[in-house]
């Protein structure tokens, strides 16, 4: 199995052209990035609002776990039919499904991050004359940022692994290797595809980890310890 895997990876045919690894990896990253950007645009504002006001937490927590239970495959096939899409727009149902997947962890990370900001800090900022906007923008969000990125990391991991389903609707991405190999029971290609997806996901995760470290304001650890 290892030998055939090595052979697969050293075959130059697998590295060039529209079906090659670089092209497929780029497609994969593209679908994932699109979904993540949309998810961030939805989840972060909502998360900030909940974290800041402390309102609506129950509703959102409930909604998030409901979203988690939604079967990806079911949602994908449902949307593919209900949106009456052809192949051209298959990216729409795929993106919706991935956004649904990415929102719960992002939302959780954001509001938990804001809620973890010590009350004294918030009161101090208020006393200093910060407006609500300034309070959120200059105090709460920066302090919460590491946890927001933490949410982004788990969302990204899940999205990158799940973007494979795009191939079920005929799109590209690394999932192509999985579905094509599944159809002909080709274990080597299947394994190669899985490895590539895992490696891509971990590489992106590593980058985000770095970002998370960079974004942690100095002194935050000390602030946390005091709570």
């Amino acid at each position: 199995m290892i030998a055939s895997l090595i052979a697969w990876f050293s075959d130059p045919d697998h590295w060039s052209g529209p079906g090659g690894v670089p092209a497929r990896a780029l497609e994969h990253l593209g679908y994932s990035a699109l979904a993540l950007v949309i998810a961030v645009l939805i989840a972060v504002p909502v998360g900030v609002w909940i974290g800041h006001t402390g309102r609506g937490r129950r509703v959102v927590v409930g909604l998030s776990s409901a979203l988690r239970a939604l079967p990806t495959l079911g949602l994908l096939t449902f949307l593919a039919i209900v949106l009456q899409i052809g192949l051209r727009q298959a990216v729409i149902p795929t993106t919706i499904v991935l956004v649904v997947l990415a929102v719960p962890p992002l939302l959780a990370g954001t509001y938990a991050g804001l809620q973890a900001v010590p009350r004294e800090v918030v009161h101090a900022a208020r006393a200093n004359g910060h407006s609500t906007g300034q309070l959120i923008g200059q105090v709460e969000l920066p302090l919460a940022l590491p946890m927001v990125v933490g949410g982004l990391r788990s969302a990204t991991l899940q999205v990158l692994a799940t973007t494979s389903v795009a191939a079920y609707l005929g799109l590209g991405g690394l999932g192509r290797y999985l579905f094509d190999a599944l159809a002909v029971q080709d274990y080597t290609t299947m394994l190669a595809g899985a490895l590539l997806i895992a490696v891509l996901a971990l590489a992106v995760d590593g980058l985000l980890l770095l970002l998370q470290r960079l974004l942690t304001p100095t002194g935050l650890r000390a602030a946390r310890a005091r709570v």
């Binding site: 239970a69 599944l182 274990y187 299947m190």
Partner: protein, 246 residues
């Protein structure tokens, strides 16, 4: 709607098969991850390994794991066991991480106190650490339960029947009702699992019940423990008052 009533038997049998795959996977992940998390916490590198390892596993698409497993563990390709094992791995990866955090959050002071009272490490684990970490472990288990139930349906792509069969079959003939029934059925199943989990947790950890029902109900639910009940102060004053107002 007529489709649902004429095919109710079929739908229910798929839901049952879905349950037969999901339930063992959730239970096994719980049984595996609690001891593993506790042991790993005892060593510094163990925790790092867990955090890294669980994200590694999560980066691998479930479809690939389902297909590759028979080659690794010697099962047949249509065997539902493949899906059970794969989902146990995913569940354990997630749960071992949250359990590890739960044990980590247990107050050191309490552990020291327990040791001072003459508890062995074993007694301390069962009587202090596990009960205290219980609520967080429950929270993690609920997440695992929801995502496991959702993932079972991917098994339909490799011929393992579940509510997911309604997706592949419905898709191949553009039949929305069938897919919708599969989605709703999966969510209902997830809710049922969640309620059962919370019910079990309420029995095992009565102090976690914020809005406890009448005490009588609790007693009749767990008759074996009723006699000890009065002697046991509820650990959380807030819960004690909530339960006692009735």
């Amino acid at each position: 709607m007529t489709w649902i009533s004429t095919n109710l038997d079929f739908i229910l049998s798929l839901a049952w098969q879905h349950t037969l795959i999901a339930a063992p996977a959730v239970l096994l992940s719980l049984l595996i991850s609690v001891p593993v998390a506790r042991l790993a916490n005892a060593t510094g590198w163990g925790r790092k390994l867990i955090v890294g390892g669980s994200s590694l596993l999560y980066a691998i698409p479930s479809l690939a794991v389902f297909v590759i497993l028979p080659g690794l563990i010697g099962t047949r390709i249509l065997d539902p066991v493949n899906v059970v094992v794969a989902l146990t791995l995913y569940g354990a990866a997630l749960l071992v991480r949250s359990s590890s955090e739960a044990f980590d959050a247990v107050d050191d002071e309490l552990l020291t106190a327990a040791t001072a009272q003459g508890h062995s490490a074993w007694q301390r684990f069962w009587r202090v650490e596990l009960p205290l970490a219980g609520e967080s472990i429950l929270a993690g288990t609920r997440v695992v339960s929801a995502s496991t139930i959702s993932l079972v349906s991917v098994g339909a792509l490799i011929g393992v029947q579940s509510l997911g069969t309604l997706f592949t079959e419905g898709y191949s003939r553009s039949f929305l009702t069938e897919i919708a029934v599969g989605i709703v059925g999966t969510v209902i199943l997830a809710v049922v699992f969640d309620v059962v989990l919370q019910g079990i947790a309420a029995l095992l950890m009565p102090w976690t019940r914020r809005q406890a029902g009448p005490r009588r109900t609790r007693r009749s639910a767990a008759p074996g423990t009723a006699r000890a009940d009065d002697a046991v102060p509820t650990p959380d004053p807030a819960v004690a008052t909530a339960g006692g107002t009735r």
